[in-house]
Symmetry: none
Subunit: 402 residues, 2 copies
């Protein structure tokens, strides 16, 4: 638990106030050309600008200066969890990304179909990028594997990628990857670093032995390697840490999974921003905290499509009135990290934060944009502290000490 969460757990005060955290994935950007504005600064965002003028801006650092986070650490930070303390294995993230409901006894593994030659050496680590239609059928076959003492789940992800989950008591998550990261050699044996993980490694060996038999005629996908073998981190719940009933309204499974990790309720989000707003309105009375996720500011950034990211930002701005008409006590608009179209990737640049509430101390910012945020009243702060600001402005924290 972060130092701040240790306090919010003790100081939380019941209230009927409402908090909305609207996360535009990858919101932060860069100018595409010298002298220009960022995507957010280029976009026409009259609604967010009005909120910025009356509210308080700032910049958050997702992990540490210079560190570009993945979606996992980016969101954990926004949710108030120190992303260095709670690390999410690749297998877990892959399972979350296909809406697999991981439990505390589950070990999640990212699988890659691969090609073995007659000597048992890997000739292709991605099985010739086998098509999803074939791979899906192979996953159905693998899903029939039975191992005494554990439940086994196999689900297809995309092309050569799959997820394997072992569910059972006393399984550990410290097992090496079996992918040797090169061809011409056999897969590595799974080895557990501690006793519970040795148990997992034994199960993995049995699974791989059966898989070899099942897939023997399925070239080029005649085996799989295992990566990112891990359990979910034991994360204290939102209810425990903040005392709020929290709900996630996210179209993409990965973000539902990250919200599930901190025990938010997962609401049906539909497919569009308007669907999400319908859901927000319908669920308004049932929750205190709403995490609303918008993916396309990130995906357009990843595509390197500056104009498309600008347009997606404007699309987001246009639905702001559907939130403000509900009169949330605190409305936050921010991102989980920056994804500048110029870089076509997540970046370390700090993330613009807009906080709107009746208890904001005014700063001199006039609109929502990165340059303006530098002068914001929230300053530059670690993302894990954003929930402190949210809780305080919502009147949900008692005084610390007398």
């Amino acid at each position: 638990m972060s130092d701040l969460q240790d306090l919010t757990r003790k100081l939380q005060r019941q209230s009927d106030s409402k908090i909305v955290m609207l996360v535009a994935d990858g919101l932060g950007g860069l100018p595409i050309e010298a002298g220009g504005g960022t995507e957010l600064e280029t976009a026409k965002t009259p609604n967010m600008d009005a909120l910025a003028k009356a509210g308080t801006l700032g910049l958050s650092t997702p992990v540490l200066p210079g560190i570009a986070p993945g979606s996992g650490p980016g969101h954990l930070g926004l949710f108030g969890y120190d992303p260095l303390e709670y690390q999410i294995g690749r297998g877990v993230l892959e399972a979350l990304g296909i809406d697999f409901e991981l439990g505390p006894n589950d070990v999640a593994i990212r699988g890659n179909f691969c090609t073995l030659d007659a000597d048992g050496n890997i000739t292709d680590r991605r099985a010739g990028r086998v098509g999803s239609d074939i791979a899906m059928k192979l996953c159905e076959k693998l899903d029939t594997i039975e191992i005494p003492g554990v439940e086994v789940f196999v689900q297809h992800v995309k092309e050569y990628r799959l997820v394997i989950v072992f569910r059972g008591e006393g399984l550990g998550g410290n097992v090496n990857d079996t992918d040797p990261q090169r061809t011409g050699v056999p897969p590595l044996e799974p080895v557990g670093e501690d006793e519970p993980s040795q148990k997992t490694a034994e199960i993995a060996k049995q699974f791989l032995a059966q898989a070899k038999e099942i897939l023997k005629d399925d070239l080029p996908a005649n085996l799989l390697t295992m990566r990112g073998i891990d359990k979910m981190p034991a994360v204290p719940t939102y209810k425990e840490v903040y005392g709020v009933r929290a709900a996630a309204i996210a179209v993409y499974p990965m973000y539902r999974g990250l919200a599930r990790l901190v025990s938010m309720d997962i609401l049906d989000a539909g497919q569009t921003l308007n669907d999400q707003m319908d859901r927000l309105k319908a669920a308004w009375d049932d929750y205190d905290f709403f995490f609303v996720h918008f993916k396309y500011t990130d995906s357009t950034g990843e595509d390197g499509n500056f104009p498309a990211k600008v347009q997606r930002t404007e699309e987001l701005d246009a639905i702001i009135p559907r939130i403000t008409e509900l009169n949330p006590d605190v409305l936050i608009v921010t991102g989980d990290h920056s994804t500048p179209a110029k870089m076509k990737s997540h970046s370390w640049h700090p993330v613009p934060v807009l906080l709107s509430s009746d208890l904001c101390r005014p700063d001199r910012c006039q609109e929502f944009g990165e340059s303006e945020c530098i002068m914001g009243g929230l300053g530059q702060f670690p993302a894990k502290y954003l929930m402190g600001f949210a809780m305080a402005h919502a009147g949900r924290l008692e005084k610390f000490g007398a």
Copy 2:
């Protein structure tokens, strides 16, 4: 000890420089209406504005983002002590607040007179808010209680509130409250969490048994409950951490007590700011560091009286020349937390800081106010680091490392 204090302890350099820290309690504020200024921004403060223009501004976070501190953690932060590391129990604070000189062998307890019915159940947790005149006499009776092996002190605070102190070797401070927090049930038994605290719990039981006998005819105050049972935290002294001779000039006992906690000398402050300035001048040669406390920016904020807080701020500004005429090497004007009149309570909003010295690096700030402080050269920083700036600008720190 905070990470910075660990350094200042090693790097302190003797000097004849003088530091004055003028603490306007609850200094930070909020506009009372949209588009307006805060109390500090509304007040006419020509003296502080002149210092701000030549000096450096900043904003301090007393504990962590979003956390509103009480007076204890607020001041410990200003004094450079991590308020999360040194937590002050309610009993200790209550004792400090009546100028009781707590020592290292003392356990301090906040007492509340209460009313018991014939069955021994509490019918009123505040003894009908018994008057101070009656309660004072009851405290005098309780002060006669003798318990072998310890000294017992009982002092009245206000209405139904009192302070009990047990002084003796080997007493622990981890004892539960005996106040059950509701009526219709008997008080709880004191129970110690560890061996030294079990000793304290035994003494508390003997005290309560004798108190029951003494108060049996004193309805509605025929017993008392105990709360916030604690010892003073073992705090390293100012002399040790900073190598300065430090003095406190505070009108209110609570703030003298907090200064005593870090081993400052407590000077007679009189009743007014002018009395305090007389004392500052008289003691100028005898100390290196002066903590001067002004209460009324907080109490007017707590009252929700915006104009009164503005006026108190102007009153404070008017005595600034009495400090500057003494030519301190460093003059700091700040608060221990914000107390916006709009909220009638302490808040989490960061606290304006003004540092004046010949070694200030100029920023572009023109006057002392919250919006201006956002752009100040000290930035936004945890309050516990303020003493680092003070010591450095006073030429009282050696270089770290070669």
